[in-house]
């Protein structure tokens, strides 16, 4: 595959706040790539660097083989779908979509043709004369897609485009965007904080945090083989526990010894072990390769029960379709291939157990914790 965008050693700072730190990322042609991370991780800034709205303090942006750091946004062959669509409310649907081709001084006939092609692509035939304000959120979203694609971009940048839609519509639009990408055969760079969206749409997922790339891989890789505690915690639910590698294929945590599939660590190396909640089987107490704990909470989630278990003060999460009573002591059997071992990282220990789900609850009573820092990115766009 051919590289279409290459970001080399990109650093972006707003004052003292480093938003992107020495970021390296290449994007292949015709790929659906998703930048995934919590707010303030630098994913939107990365997108804006590519679009040309943010000039990196250092590093090179290479587009189709040329360095484009100095090329202004209007001369880049990329188009953006903005978070709140940014449609022109003083124009009707037709004029919004015709906006790009008109600027490029295309002939009237060509413009008419492009607009009707685009309207067909997004299933909005016959909406030409409608005003933007008369459209629903989903329809506005489609107009935004049509408007961006009418410019025949080589790369389409999507900045949390589905954030404002409700859950069901979001799922439909996910499918549709994926289909449009396949049909147009262009590169999509998609920004989201929704891990499910990222997993279900992308060819490649880039997990970001604190202005750095944590992991790049296929959705399966990211889910099954997270490189550190941050990725494991951010993608899906996971129990992340301190463990010691006794030998190749042998690990101990929670006071029990388990077989696993991981090797190549030093003897007695301290590591992080990840166990997905759906991979834990509830068994009788005392079986080999199992932990013993006491159920502290059971929540019905529809598809399954979410059971929190206290194992020596560490709260584990189990997802199971069987009902168990609160207060019961149980055994938790974990198969070798359900255990994923990661090297220790700066994130080790940060995510702790399931006493709380959110980072915010972990810090909620901490008066010295600075939330502003997290939100700085969003505020300093200009």
């Amino acid at each position: 595959m051919e590289k279409i965008i290459d970001l080399r050693n990109i650093t972006v700072k707003y004052g003292d706040n480093t938003v992107l730190e020495d970021l390296n990322l290449y994007i292949n042609s015709k790929e659906f790539i998703t930048l995934l991370g919590p707010s303030g991780c630098g994913k939107t800034t990365t997108l804006r660097v590519i679009a040309g709205f943010v000039e990196p303090d250092s590093g090179e942006v290479v587009f189709e083989g040329k360095v484009i750091n100095d090329v202004p946004p209007h001369k880049r062959r990329v188009n953006t779908i903005f978070q709140r669509y940014a449609l022109f409310s003083h124009m009707n649907v037709y004029d919004n979509i015709a906006f790009g081709p008109e600027i490029q001084k295309k002939s009237r006939k060509e413009i008419d043709q492009t607009v009707s092609e685009m309207l067909e692509l997004v299933n909005l035939k016959g909406f030409e004369k409608r005003s933007i304000d008369s459209l629903s959120g989903g329809q506005q979203q489609r107009v935004a897609i049509a408007r961006a694609l009418a410019n025949k971009p080589h790369v389409l940048l999507l900045d949390e485009p589905l954030g404002a839609l409700d859950l069901k519509l979001r799922k439909d639009m996910q499918k549709e965007l994926k289909a449009i990408q396949k049909r147009m055969g262009i590169t999509f760079i998609y920004v989201t904080h929704d891990q499910e969206e990222a997993l279900s749409m992308s060819d490649t997922v880039v997990v970001m945090d604190k202005g750095k790339i944590q992991q790049i891989g296929t959705p399966e890789d990211i889910y099954n083989e997270p490189v550190n505690a941050f990725v494991a915690d951010f993608i899906g639910e996971s129990n992340i526990v301190d463990a010691v590698m006794l030998d190749d294929y042998k690990v101990t945590f929670g006071g029990s010894v388990f077989k696993c599939l991981d090797f190549g660590f030093e003897k007695n190396e301290v590591v992080d072990a990840v166990v997905r909640p759906e991979d834990i089987k509830i068994v009788e107490i005392g079986k080999p390769a199992s932990l013993t704990g006491k159920i502290t909470s059971v929540t019905f989630k529809g598809v399954h029960f979410e059971i929190l278990v206290d194992v020596k003060g560490f709260i584990w999460m189990i997802q199971t379709t069987e009902y168990h009573e609160v207060g019961k002591s149980i055994g938790m059997y974990i198969e070798p291939d359900a255990i994923h071992i990661m090297k220790r990282s700066e994130y080790s220990g940060e995510f702790g157990d399931y006493s709380y789900f959110s980072d915010e609850m972990d810090h909620i009573s901490d008066a010295t914790y600075n939330w502003e820092e997290e939100e700085n990115e969003a505020k300093s766009f200009d």
């Binding site: 001369k75 953006t80 003083h90 009707n92 408007r147």
Partner: protein, 275 residues
């Protein structure tokens, strides 16, 4: 829609207010315009209107010139202001509004002492050996008075629209291939039209009907329709003609605003400001 009692009660004072201070005076204007001194129905006053047509025309011309000047002064300023730092914006808006805290008459009066034969400006010019120039009583002085007095009413609505303009719209335009000039022509300007229209209305209307500015800065030598109307009430004691003139002025202003709004809204719907 059903409205509860509190909504109805809350509305009452406003209704009373409108009847007392808007509808009743309007009715009185109409009454006087179509009656004679004895109170009998008469078209006498209305029939005198044609002889004042040139004054009407002149008033509208003065108002239009002042409005256009206000617009060209205000738009760049409001645009720059909306791009400035937030603290600077607050200070500047304060400074724009500051003169409005002072009485309108005093503000106009003070221009007399600046523009007079032995006023500040002429004194300053005499330092360079320039002979005393007649400013007061010229159309320029009247227009200056209008622009000076009503400028804030143009700046503020334009600024308010521009400062609320979503930055992502500007980025979207750039993203779709617009250079800076095209961004302005195709997105910023059309989207600021509502502000421009309310600014134009708020400047044009008082300019057309003013009499104080023409009296003081026009030195009584420039007669606009406001002066004629004022004269009917204050000196000629001809309420009927005064009311008829007021009525016609009102209709003319309504027509002007209607034309402007139509022009504005067609921009909004048609959208295409071609380059």
């Amino acid at each position: 829609m059903k409205q509860n009692l509190s909504t109805k009660l809350l509305r009452q004072p406003y209704i009373v207010w409108s009847v007392l201070f808007i509808l009743a005076p309007l009715a009185m204007v109409c009454y006087y315009a179509f009656t004679d001194k004895s109170g009998a129905f008469s078209l006498n006053s209305i029939s005198q209107i044609p002889s004042y047509l040139s004054v009407f025309g002149k008033s509208i011309l003065y108002g239009a010139v002042a409005t256009v000047i206000c617009f060209f002064l205000s738009y760049p300023f409001a645009y720059a202001l909306s791009k400035a730092k937030l603290s600077a914006q607050k200070t500047m808006v304060m400074l724009v509004m500051l003169p409005m805290w002072m009485n309108f008459l005093i503000r106009t009066y003070s221009w007399m002492t600046i523009l007079g034969r032995s006023g500040l400006l002429n004194k300053f010019l005499s330092l360079f050996g320039v002979e005393s120039i007649k400013f007061l009583g010229t159309p320029g002085a009247v227009i200056l008075g209008m622009v000076y007095n009503f400028l804030p009413y143009m700046i503020l609505p334009i600024y308010s629209v521009l400062s609320k303009l979503d930055n992502s719209l500007i980025e979207a335009a750039k993203d779709l291939g617009c250079n800076r000039l095209q961004v302005f022509k195709r997105v910023v300007f059309p989207l600021s039209l509502p502000g421009i229209l309310s600014g134009v209305t708020m400047v044009f209307v008082p300019c057309v009907s003013t009499f104080y500015i023409t009296q003081k800065l026009g030195n009584g030598q420039i007669m606009l329709i406001g002066d004629i109307i004022e004269m009917q009430f204050q000196q000629a004691n001809n309420y009927n003609l005064g009311a008829a003139l007021s009525l016609v002025l009102m209709v003319l202003i309504l027509i002007c605003i209607g034309v402007m709004n139509r022009f504005g809204s067609s921009e909004e719907n048609g959208g295409a400001l071609y380059i």
